[in-house]
Amino acid sequence: MSVPSPAPVKPVITHPLNVIVATDCGSTTTKAILIEKVGDEYRQTYRGEAPTTVEAPFEDVTRGVLNAIAEIEELSGRKILDGDRIITPCRDAKTGVDIYISTSSAGGGLQMMVTGVVQNMTGESAQRAALGAGAIVIDVLASNDGRLPHEKIERIRTMRPDMILMSGGTDGGAVTHVVEMAEYISAAEPRPRFGATFKLPLIYAGNTDAQPQVKKILGEKTALVLTDNIRPVLERENLAPARNKIHDLFLEHVMQQAPGYKKLIDMAGAPIMPTPAAVGVIMETIAKREHLNLIGVDIGGATTDVFSVFEGLFNRTVSANLGMSYSISNVLAEAGLANIMRWVPFTIDEQTLRNRIKNKMVRPTTIPQTLDELQIEHAIAREALRLALIHHKSLATALKGVQQERTISDVFEQQQSGKTLIDMLKLDLIVGSGGILSHAPRRVQSMLLMVDAYEPLGVTRLSVDSIFMMPHLGVLSTINEKAATDVFVRDCMVYLGTCVAPIGQGKDGERCADYAITFPDGRVDKGSLSFGDLRLIPLASGQKASMTVQPAKQANLGAGAGVAVTREVHGGVVGLLLDGRGRPLQLPIDHAFRVASLTRWYQAVDLYPVLSAEK
């Protein structure tokens, strides 16, 4: 099981922080925000963006950073740049900023290879440690992964990771397999992605008894760092020391080699964090502060990161090739055309759609100009979100290989160890971030995309990052928690509303549930939801209502089939979404009927402008 991600080292800042500029260097764009103290509270005031410049012809990440900050200068009238230098601290009310901070996922982020002995035990623990630290895991090698020794060596040799994490064995156990893996790595002579002349960082976090042998085999060939075993005993994971080492090595080795990062590190007043690690900090903070079970998603152009906190346990995964621009064609390859087409409320021939998707792949910065194009992108986004959650569920699990104690009551419930921790019925909040969710023309579009992709069960609240600033706030929280919290609450988190979705299936038009909503002003709205219905009931942001739902005998809202449930529901910019489409959500197979159903649902929630006009 995962533990909370490590708290990054807090830098010492002596002067007051009243004006902060923060950037996130993404794979496509560098996004800058300005945060200013207005009275007693911090607010996000201006935003600028520019293309990321980590690769040819510029090969200097700071160029994009300076361009993005220059846009803020133009909009705010504040002088922040003095040539290629950020003016810190503030000189007067209109000159300089008190600190500059940044996150980065540019240039492919932090790419790691991990190794273990047993694939679904130490292999998975190592994978969780790397993912939790904000890495993209490019391969997991294990003694029992089915590959022959020479295939493993060939694989290690052809990959160019930024870093390797080795795990394997419990403390005091056999050393043979983990030493064997060290021999394979040594034979492959792996080389890092950046910098042909420096040694590849390698963290050993396996059986401590094997440390001397690993040191002997890999000490000369790699920049070896030894740390505590991530699986000291089968029943417990200890991921924090390995994650801390990953963060340290990321800054000390990897970032130093990436184009322009040395300059970026010098410019920043706090350590640069990998973007997913910064978003993870924010997700964990929300969950802890409000004692929630949550799923967070950041859907970008190249990758989709999924975060979850269930019963206090934090997990993060990255689906490296699921995204809305660079990786859009891979969403088509993985989901299949039929799964994408099922969300499109009109007819389009396969060849045209395939060509359009490929054209987006080769020109990733284009935007949908017509409503049809927007609907196709939304269809692809649903599938990217769905596949990334499936991936997350497979890794956010209880520990595998652990002996379970069973009592007589467990006789009929033969659960395997390693069950996923994601329980959609216990889920309180879904948080969406990333361009397609943050910049959707209508907020209801973000809400329905997440509802369709995740199929929340029972009562679930949804929110979205207003303009994509969670990474910035994640790194800000490491130096000034109040500033991060103020901006997060007031400017970042947009509550969309609550989705109420009974589990079960029924014929269209058949009764699904009766409900009664008592609004804050005492008004009571009673109604009946049929199977196949999607209904939107206004409930403003900040408002709460009491809702009693009496499901039909084949429907269940979490308390059992046909059992009534009373819950407090939260409003938002969209409102209450009553989803009678059934769970699991099954779209009609017949094309004409499916298009008619989609059109009806989209009109019911006023999803798109033309459909609104038709209505």
Binding site: T28, T29, G48, P51, T52, T53, V54, E55, A56, P57, E59, G64, N67, A70, E71, A106, G107, G108, H150, I153, T176, V179, E180, E183, Y184, A187, A188, E189, A196, A302, N321, S327, S329, N330, A333, E334, E350, Q351, T352, R354, N355, R356, I357, K358, N359, M361, V362, R363, T365, T366, I367, P368, Q369, T370, L371, E373, L374, P441, R442, P609
Partner: protein, 377 residues
């Protein structure tokens, strides 16, 4: 100062291009600074370590790992021939004798007394890095490679597959909107870079492969035909290592799209001349695009005022542009206006737009993100 960035593809009669030729492992550089090189000339050489073969002797001899030294005939660093005895046991009866033979010719790299494993390595393989373009060496990076500079005409494509190659340019069609059909291919095109117009079908791609052309440059293809050519659905646009028999470069995109007139005219003007081409595409910020480099001839004087790296400037009225998103995908025009205010488009997004005038005099407002500058104009 930040400015509106509009990505574009360079199509220019005159450019000075520098290409870094770097070995994947440290080796030796074979040329000197200032030297003139040919595209097919080796400029650097490295010895790639041979393949590693692990053998678990402890398992094969049924002994403990720390006992294998008693059975080994070879030691670390020794050379071995294929089928030479590496280790053997010494039983009382010779029928029980077990000999472990080397599966390869190479050297014994390591022997582990913890795992009982012996690693054998094949001899290194010599890898020679070619110059890729006819030009002059302007920088030598010791042990790593060189930078070659060439005075050339340059065409960047939008997407390609296959690696670096070279061949004479041959025009297979007479206009940029003409399809490159199978019958356009002739036996004389073997080893050449064949330029088509708007589209190539899967049948014509098969014909190109059959004939053994070096490369195909075309406006567009259908995604399904690319899938058939590769044998899989390409998920991410990182290419250059495909082995489909030739290098394919798309100048416009996916679908049937006439090649930009400027591109077609430039390639036509150089028909019969040798070109270096690469299909390598890597679409990330600051992309690698496929390219066609037509050198002016080794040692040709570099035109004054021509910069080595094309400078990107803000877009201006009158610039030639290509629309790169539906509903007007592939249309070419020129910038007519650059309003600074955000405008609402049919999706309800508020974005920066630009007015584009087409050849027939009509105009349209297009999101700036959906415009590509035809650079080098």
């Amino acid at each position: 100062m930040a400015h509106s960035y509009t990505p574009g593809l360079t199509v220019t009669e005159q450019a000075v291009v520098r290409r870094r030729r770097i070995l994947s492992l440290p080796g030796s550089v074979l040329v000197t600074s200032g030297e003139t090189v040919r595209a097919n000339q080796a400029v650097a050489r490295a010895e790639l370590p041979g393949k590693v073969y692990p053998l678990n002797l402890a398992n094969q001899l049924s002994v403990a790992p720390d006992e294998i030294h008693d059975y080994l005939i070879k030691k670390v660093g020794d050379s071995v021939q294929k089928d030479e005895i590496l280790a053997e046991n010494k039983p009382l009866m010779k029928w029980f004798k077990t000999e472990i033979l080397s599966p390869i010719t190479g050297v014994v790299e390591s022997i582990s007394h913890v795992t009982g494993q012996v690693l054998l390595r094949e001899p290194p393989r010599v890898f020679e890095l070619l110059g890729y373009v006819d030009g002059r060496i302007v920088e030598v990076i010791p042990q790593q490679g060189v930078v070659v500079e060439t005075n050339c005409s340059l065409v960047q494509g939008i997407f390609g597959i296959g690696g670096e190659t070279r061949g004479e340019i041959v025009m297979a069609v007479t206009s940029p909107d003409e399809e490159l059909s199978p019958r356009r291919f002739t036996a004389a095109m073997k080893g050449k870079v064949v330029v088509g117009g708007s589209f190539i079908s899967s049948e014509a791609l098969a014909r190109a492969k059959e004939l053994g052309v070096a490369g195909v440059v075309i406006g567009g293809i259908h995604d399904k035909d690319l899938r058939a050519l590769l044998g899989y659905d390409l998920g991410v646009a990182i290419t250059g290592t495909e082995q489909v028999g030739f290098t394919l470069i798309l100048t416009e995109g996916f679908g049937s799209i006439p090649m930009a007139g400027k591109t077609f005219a430039l390639l036509s003007a150089h028909a019969g001349q040798p070109a270096s081409i690469s299909g390598a595409t890597q679409i990330r910020a600051g992309v690698i695009r496929p390219e066609i480099i037509i050198p002016k001839g080794a040692g040709a004087p570099i035109a004054p005022g021509v910069s080595a790296v094309p400078e990107r400037e803000g877009i201006r009225i009158g610039d030639q542009v290509r629309i790169i998103r539906d509903p007007l995908f592939g249309k070419l025009g020129e910038v007519a206006s650059l309003p600074s205010d955000l405008q609402k488009i049919p999706t309800e997004s508020e974005v920066r737009v630009m007015g584009v005038r087409f050849a027939d005099g009509s105009t349209a407002m297009i999101p700036r993100a959906n415009i590509e500058l035809i650079e080098g104009a």
